[in-house]
């Protein structure tokens, strides 16, 4: 009886020794801790996007554009010799699905980082999970200020100018251009609407809005709210609406022979989809339509970024409709490539977060990014775009937020260098 026992002991002792040796030897090599999703020639990242369901129509092109941009980067040799493997999972804009697909990405696919998870309710539900697991949670696609909590969520970073800032920028433009007019707000019945309202009131004063009406995404009839705005005598209507509801508001008002000045948040102001919704009357209804934007507009002609993105879109995205969503997706991809480059030859998850916080990232926007150790919000302000003859173009008015006010930003926008691939 003793002999087999002894043999088993010997075997396990050898196994232990081998294992111990492996552990020790791996400790001495430079890649001490294997980084999830990282090999010598590739890096795996993931995202959750609404590819099906009600939000898909407006937002599904974003991840396709990001993927196209990464294909472009990979064809040119990648970043630091690594190709970017970008996994898109569909959550149908439903937080319950987001929970599942993000866990799948992190625990099953072992992605290095999450990039541009889309939506406030959806992404809020995975904040704790991602930060508990130390997964870099970069450039969330939503203007909620929830992403800027470095103490509580050290790995989470925003991308867009947050809704409060957008409200402040639009408020500043209104106070300069439409002084003395009656200003009202039509907003979504969640953080999007309330944050925009807070931003507007910071600039226009607590009684700066004559009337505030809200809608819920699940109800497609906004006639009651538009009538209320009309009868309150609103002359300038700010829209905190997603694209479909921007079109609904403008269309419904037109049916009521009501033609106020529309001023919209960038989230619902993408000219391409808007004119698609409004059909033939679009050029007429959208003439003079004001919105803010922190990225160059898709319909602009003489912008190097737009030229490049169009080219990438034709080559790697099957020439999909070139809209603001495509610009957004590619700008997102570019910013990640920049962060990855800044994280160095042997990136670690901590290193990637440190690289974003370093403040070295430039992005491709009209205004600077705000990343630092104690600020995780994205673009610090926005510029104004106006639609004229079917072209939504930036006018030279840009502001960045400074506490409770906005200040003029007059430095030139970020230049396009080295073919749009950070190096």
């Amino acid at each position: 009886m003793t002999q087999p026992h002894a043999r088993a002991t010997t075997v396990s002792a050898i196994a232990l020794a081998v294992a111990g040796a492996l552990v020790l030897s791996s400790c001495s090599t430079p890649q001490a801790e294997a980084q999830p999703g990282l090999t010598d020639d590739s890096i795996k990242i993931g995202t959750h996007q609404p590819l099906t369901g009600p939000a898909a129509a407006s937002y599904a092109p974003i991840s396709a554009a990001t993927a196209a941009y990464f294909d472009y980067v990979n064809a040119e040799g990648g970043i630091n010799g690594r190709t970017i493997d970008y996994i898109v999972k569909d959550d149908g804009y439903n937080p319950a699905n987001t929970q599942t697909v993000v866990r799948e990405l992190v625990l099953e696919d072992e992605v290095f980082a999450i990039l541009g998870g889309l939506g406030t309710p959806t992404h809020s539900s995975v904040l704790d999970f991602l930060n508990d697991n130390g997964v870099p949670d970069l450039f969330v696609s939503s203007g909620s200020s929830a992403w800027n909590q470095p103490e509580k969520y050290p790995g989470t970073f925003g991308f867009q100018a947050d809704y409060v800032t957008e409200g402040m920028v639009l408020g500043q433009y209104i106070s300069e251009e439409f002084d003395g007019k009656k200003v009202c707000l039509f907003g979504q019945d969640d953080e999007f609407g309330t944050d925009m309202q807070a931003g507007l009131e910071k600039v226009l004063g607590a009684d700066g809005l004559a009337e505030v009406q809200t809608y819920s995404v699940s109800n497609q009839d906004v006639a009651a709210q538009i009538v209320a705005l009309q009868s309150a005598g609103c002359e300038v209507n700010v829209l905190a609406t997603i694209t479909g509801f921007t079109a609904l508001a403008i269309g419904t008002a037109a049916q009521l022979k009501y033609f106020p000045q529309w001023v919209s948040s960038s989230s619902g102001a993408d000219y391409g989809p808007l004119s698609g919704y409004l059909g033939e009357a679009a050029p007429l209804l959208l003439e003079g339509f004001v919105s803010d934007n922190y990225l160059p507009s898709a319909t602009e002609d003489d912008n190097k970024w737009i030229e490049l993105f169009k080219q990438v879109n034709d080559e790697y995205n099957d020439g999909a409709d070139f809209t603001g969503s495509v610009v957004y997706g590619m700008a997102m991809g570019y910013l990640f490539a920049e962060a990855l480059l800044a994280a160095g030859e042997q990136p670690t998850r901590e290193g990637l977060i440190a690289a974003v916080q370093s403040g070295e990232l430039k992005g491709s926007g009209l205004v600077p990014l705000g990343f630092s150790e104690d600020n995780h919000s994205g673009y610090l302000g926005a510029g104004i775009t106006v639609v004229h003859d079917g072209v939504q173009a930036a006018i030279d008015k840009r502001w960045v937020r400074d506490g409770d006010k906005v200040v003029v930003y007059d430095k030139p926008p970020v230049e396009l260098l080295s073919g749009g691939i950070p190096s």
């Binding site: 590819l51 099906t52 369901g53 396709a64 993927a67 898109v88 999972k89 569909d90 149908g92 804009y93 439903n94 937080p95 319950a96 929970q99 599942t100 866990r103 799948e104 625990l107 099953e108 406030t120 309710p121 809020s124 539900s125 704790d128 999970f129 508990d132 019945d189 969640d190 953080e191 819920s216 995404v217 699940s218 109800n219």
Partner: protein, 348 residues
């Protein structure tokens, strides 16, 4: 089996399931927690449909009632800095109380209705959910729903097990309580009263059974079970929104019950497993097939619904009693084929 033995058996299964969580990786444990939540809902629904013959298309609404009650209570307790065990347990109590009250109210209204009319009533409930959530947006957070601030695993456990494993434990314990209680119900005299009401209401009345009471009672119990399932979902996903409790999801629950085997508790477990596994398997298939990226992404979210339908058709053709019925028939046949030393099977 005596009631105590039945509870013992449930506890034994629970211990085995908890032991299994040590073998599973975190993602599988998360899926197990989801399965546990669905088991709560499907087991109540299975008995409701199979035993009293009441068809509910709106069980997701009862889950939502439980989930919202859980969320509001849990958030209030987090605000008040309630001690850990209270913060963990009281929201579940709130979930079960609120869901059963809603269930009883709907049950009272529905007790006079049969078949399609009752189905219509429950259908209206689940369709009204988004409107209710946005009408009382201040309380329920509108379409975006609520973030749930939950009590995490105790600190002394955090070095031993991952969050997902803890979530699986919570889910399994709640599911075991629901399952154990319903297993008692199935073997109690009430079960016979339910069958009497289902099969012939007049005969049941003649035997001194009050059909309304039996129906309303079962509706309440079934809603309470679903509410606990919603509570587990809220706990695990830390979010409640009307979109998570859609009509599609409600129909999934019913389809799962039918696939598993209507009227049986084992069938409800099969159904819950099918709900969780089908999307997993379809995702794995679409990723494995050499499809263009765009097509596979499009299939990713939609294929599961098709596969669900196909499974339903196949199961109905091949095993009208559901998976549980098929498994029971198979094991029965195997037992009969055993060597003749076993006593001969009784002939009827």
């Amino acid at each position: 089996m005596t009631p105590i033995q039945r509870w013992g058996a449930t506890a034994g299964i629970l211990v085995l399931a908890i032991a299994a969580t040590f073998v599973l990786d975190p993602y599988r444990n998360y899926l197990l927690a989801m399965t546990a939540a669905y088991v709560c809902a499907t087991s109540g629904l299975s008995l409701l449909v199979g035993r009293t013959g009441q068809l509910s298309l709106g069980h997701a609404a009862f889950m939502a009632a439980g989930a919202y009650a859980f969320a509001l209570t849990s958030n209030a307790l987090a605000e008040a800095d309630a001690p850990g065990p209270v913060h963990l347990l009281v929201p579940f109590l709130a979930a079960v109380v609120v869901a059963s009250v809603v269930g009883l109210i709907v049950g009272v209204a529905g007790a006079r209705l049969h078949g399609p009319y009752l189905a219509g009533l429950t259908l209206a409930l689940v369709i009204a959910l988004p409107a209710i959530a946005s009408t009382f947006g201040g309380l329920f957070g509108g379409d975006a729903g609520l973030y749930v601030s939950v009590e995490r695993r105790p600190d002394w456990l955090s070095t031993v097990i991952a969050t997902e494993q803890w979530q699986a434990w919570v889910g399994l314990i709640v599911a075991a309580i629901v399952f154990g209680a319903l297993a008692q119900l199935v073997r109690s005299p009430s079960a016979i009263r339910m069958q009497a009401v289902r099969d012939d209401e007049s005969a049941a009345r003649l035997s001194g059974i009050d059909p309304v009471r039996v129906r309303v009672g079962m509706f309440g119990i079934s809603a309470a079970a679903a509410g606990l399932g919603g509570g587990v979902l809220a706990y695990v996903t830390q979010a409640v929104s009307p979109g998570a409790y859609s009509l599609t999801f409600s129909l999934f629950l019913l389809v799962a019950v039918v696939i598993g085997g209507v009227g049986t508790l084992a069938g409800a477990v099969w159904g819950a497993i099918v709900i969780v596994l089908v999307p997993e398997i379809t995702t794995a298939i679409t990723e494995a097939l050499p499809l263009p990226a765009e097509l596979s992404q499009r299939l990713d979210g939609n294929l599961a619904i098709v596969v669900f339908g196909v499974i339903l058709v196949v199961v109905m053709l091949a095993a009208p009693q559901g998976i549980h019925g098929a498994v029971a028939a198979l094991t029965g046949r195997l037992r009969r084929r055993r060597p003749r030393t076993a006593p001969p099977a009784p002939t009827t």
